[in-house]
Amino acid sequence: MASQQAGFDRHMAENNFSVVSARKLGLTFETGDGPVHALSDVDLEVKKGDFVSFIGPSGCGKTTFLRVIADLEGATAGEITVNGMTPENARKSRSYGYVFQAPALYPWRTIEKNIALPLEIMNYTAAERKERIERTLDLVNLAGFGKKYPWQLSGGMQQRASIARALAFDADLLLMDEPFGALDEIVRDHLNEQLLKLWARTQKTICFVTHSIPEAVYLSTKIVVMSPRPGRVTDVIESTLPKERPLEIRETPEFLAIAHRVREGLRAGHSYEE
């Protein structure tokens, strides 16, 4: 089993493995007012090590798509694999960490106990838990805050703690659903910068939902532009920005050109008649 896993890993590295692969994916919710097409005909490849942003107006299905990857929703059409498995099996083998819009920290647990939550559920030993709590707290710059309760931390710190919680166990895929949406611009810039560093250090594959154009362009290697009714992909932009990205890169013509293309994509997919 172990050697099989090692072979699998090598295979992934060698063949530029698709972590997420969607073919003609569709999801229709049956509601009282008739069917709602949350997703239709979505084709997408997320390669190992990618930072993929999903951007679009509300109702474009970007969060729904993330939830399908996480097996929190089931697709009603097409195919999707996560780490080469069905989303259900991927979830059951704990292949991803999920960061929600809200920190969703348990208020009766301290920060370190919150980070320990997935580790307890996945039966890590006490020694391993301790080591991982320290390491992930360090990764999100929260060292020394482990004994605090969530209410004692600011919103930005809470969201960082929830990222630490998603990083604590061995999942190569990080799914983030507008994690900084509720934070102010300054905190957000800071966290974006930290997130990029964290991504470089951990080499994870990240799927990131946002509705901020600068955030998407600044963070991503690939930007997926989506539009609503039905939720679909209208453009996929491969970023030409270097991997090393200081905040000032946002004033460069290259950055602005990509941002312009994203904006055009959003405009094309969105009808303002409604």
Partner: protein, 299 residues
């Protein structure tokens, strides 16, 4: 400064209400006792000044409505001046009632939690059990209590347990209802998080549903313990119990010892207040231990 605020915002309003109640009580006692006193005076052919007359209405041995100081002195005498083992000691009677209250409350809380866990986890129970639970509380407890005592007496279960079971009957309900709400209180996002970890139902239960339900548990236990005390007192009435606040009330009613009845009532309510306060305090301590944000009082 702090002291002044405590006085203004806590002690003053409470004291005002207490003084108002006592004043109304005295007026009530005068008017309730006056006709009987007038009767007595007429038969004994005495004429008294209005002040003398007022004093007499306040010191009848078996008044229609005893004056507050009569009740107070009876409570004081029977609480502090008697041996705890004495049959006249209110502490003794309160202790008897307290023991069945405690047993009934414990059983009721456990039963309530058990029912709530069942309702939350088994869909069939969710649909079938709740109407019956609600119906169970529609039955007047005064009608159920004698039947419970008689039926259990027929199978030779007497003493504390039948009384405790009546407490259980009253106290499981608030706990069951509160805990159903409590165990369902986790938000969707917290449940989704557990799902992303592929947590088992048991893990979700112990690590999420149970801690989330703790505040609900204590809130419903406050209601349940007061209900348990009422259950224990009601349970003492049809048993012809020789001890307990209920038996004290019954004996007082038999022999028209109105002062004793009122003293027993006061003892019962003081006991209830103490029990509720203890549950509230334990709840506070538990919440503090679970990292709850300390409350700041406004004003």
């Amino acid at each position: 400064m702090q002291r002044e605020k405590l006085f203004q915002h806590r002690i003053m309003p409470v004291a005002t209400i207490v003084i108002a109640i006592i004043a109304i009580w005295y007026v009530g006692a005068y008017f309730m006792n006056a006709p009987f006193q007038r009767d007595l005076d007429r038969r004994a052919n005495v004429t008294s000044t209005s002040i003398e007359f007022f004093e007499k209405t306040m010191s009848q041995p078996k008044p229609t409505l005893p004056a507050p100081h009569q009740v107070a002195s009876s409570v004081f005498e029977n609480t502090f001046l008697r041996k705890v083992t004495s049959n006249r000691s209110l502490v003794y009677h309160a202790g008897v009632t307290l023991s069945s209250t405690a047993v009934g409350f414990t059983l009721g809380t456990l039963l309530g939690i058990l029912i709530a866990v069942g309702i939350v986890h088994v869909k069939a129970l969710d649909r079938s059990l709740m109407p019956w639970i609600i119906a169970s509380q529609m039955v007047p407890i005064l009608a159920v209590a004698p039947m419970v005592i008689v039926v259990l007496g027929a199978v030779n279960i007497t003493g504390l347990l039948p009384k405790a079971l009546i407490s259980t009957y009253l106290s499981f309900f608030p706990v069951a209802v509160g805990m159903v709400k409590g165990l369902r209180s986790p938000e969707l996002i917290q449940l989704d998080l557990m799902r992303t970890y592929h947590a088992s139902i048991a893990q979700t239960f112990w690590k999420l549903r149970v801690p989330a339900s703790v505040p609900f548990l204590f809130t419903s236990m406050k209601v349940a313990i007061a209900a348990s005390l009422v259950g224990a007192i009601v349970g003492e009435l049809p048993t012809g119990a020789v001890a307990g606040i209920g038996s004290k009330l019954l004996a007082g009613a038999y022999y028209s010892q109105t002062i004793d009845i009122w003293a027993a009532l006061i003892a019962g309510s003081v006991l209830a207040a103490l029990l509720v306060a203890i549950v509230a305090l334990v709840g506070k301590l538990v919440e503090r231990a679970m990292g709850a944000k300390p409350e700041r009082r406004l004003g």
